[in-house]
Symmetry: C2
Subunit: 283 residues, 2 copies
């Protein structure tokens, strides 16, 4: 007689389309961690490989779009509760991403528009920004740009963040959570970080204590946690709030392997040192 | 004044060279999870992309070996406490793996010789087996084959597992943990699974309750947990025992998304449903 597994509830599955970051600070490994820590299970389809460390990204190699499509087809027997899209590094991978997303109509889609690396390297082009606006935004349930990304996605539109958010909503994006860490609004105290949710019928702001240091992967963490929360059925406002709280804690528990960026520790609730694993009779 | 992060100990870093599995059951995402759950931090360099689901692997696309080398170079400022090598899918990626590993002399190296998918698909060739034997095994501190892999790596050598293990140790491999789940030894009771550690000066056996079902990623989980444990400075025997206990628990807490293989849940100690994240003043 073999031993049966304890009953485990069905986990909400989040499909991640994102780049791979060898450091684990960002990209699909980070997304997977954030999703697991928020109660989900991640499937990951790489959109790009990168060469990077905790200072900057030195190379982005777009994935083969046809291989991405075949990976998605092979996953057809998974129920998908939410989708998270991160770095889209070429027009042909954007085609693959839109094809894959369109095969799952009605599934909440979170887009983290990764346009530039934390270290400053450009990861996008004007053509790609146009492609994101025209082909992907109409499918997006919630977009999570920082203020610079919001500005670039609205092609330098004059006015404030609200006006820019409204412009993106006219393109079909359902809601926008604008993060204010990197480029703070003048009237926000310097020891606070303010994030704002824009949606057609509501607007909501959150303010968090600003953390010291430069972080590697905070945007990925936020968007992936948000997708997992939406996948479990949380409301938009609750999911936005909990994803922010989760990200804040991951950053506050981050660790710094060298002199450069801090890596978020999304599994801070696990012990740092390996615990002894017990409970199995070993003979 | 920004808020400082709480002090976090330096995490032992494990460099993973492995394939990517979109399901997250196996491959570098799984390795990263296992390493985090055992107190480490994973850096991941992909050796291959795969098309697969919980039934079988339908495609393996070897990574660009030069991109792998550049990824490794970019990570030079990380201290590496252990290395885990998984799927090596071509001779040129084997070259890259050996080059990368040789740049970190003295770092414990765990090799999980992935030669066949759980669903039965062949992932290796006679040429690759020869390459593993001649070029990678001399660098390996501990090898984690199942009994079929042990037989293939010894080119069908007559005799028992001990004789085969001794043959691999003459090639330079320091120790071998042979797993007995898939191809049990006749004298082991059918409700138990027996794993055996062979090393020049010791031999040790463990017996575990056999779990129902087919699992996707148990070998990756074991080898990655073992690397993390060695990276924290645990002794070989303690690390082998704890990695087995961890793997057993991950499998026992696994979940089954469809009718096919069960996915290990390496983060079973996190709540399944998302917990409310508190502790941050939100305004």
């Amino acid at each position: 007689m073999a031993t049966s597994s304890p009953m485990v509830p069905h986990l909400p599955v989040v499909l991640v389309l994102a780049g791979h970051d060898p450091t684990g600070g960002a990209g699909l490994v980070a997304d997977s961690e954030a999703i697991a820590a928020n109660g989900g299970w991640a499937l990951t389809i790489p959109t790009a490989w990168t060469v990077q460390n905790c200072r900057d990204v030195s190379e982005v190699i777009p994935a083969d779009p046809d291989a991405m499509r075949r990976m998605a087809l092979a996953l057809d027997d998974f129920d998908i509760a939410a989708i998270k899209v991160g770095l889209v590094a070429s027009s042909s991978t954007l085609d693959a991403v839109t094809d894959i997303v369109r095969r799952r109509p009605g599934v909440p889609l979170v887009l983290d528009p990764v346009l530039r690396a934390g270290g400053g390297s450009e990861l996008s082009t004007a053509e790609l920004v146009d492609g994101l606006r025209e082909r992907l935004l109409p499918l997006v349930d919630i977009l999570t740009p920082n203020r610079q990304e919001l500005s670039r996605l609205t092609l330098g539109l004059e006015g404030d963040d609200t006006r820019r958010a409204v412009e993106l909503m006219t393109l079909g994006c359902q809601a926008i959570l604008v993060t204010g860490t990197d480029d703070p609004i003048d009237r926000v105290p310097r020891d606070r970080v303010q994030h704002t949710l824009h949606a057609p019928d509501l607007s909501r702001q959150w303010s968090w204590p600003r953390l010291d240091g430069q972080f590697h992967g905070s945007g990925c963490t936020l968007a992936a946690a948000l997708a997992a929360r939406l996948g479990t059925g949380e409301s938009l406002v609750a999911a936005c709030e909990q994803a922010q709280a989760f990200t804040w804690q991951s950053l506050a528990h981050g660790w710094q392997p060298g002199e450069a960026q801090i890596l978020p520790r999304r599994l801070w609730r696990l012990a740092v040192m390996p615990e002894r694993v017990d409970g199995v009779p070993p003979s």
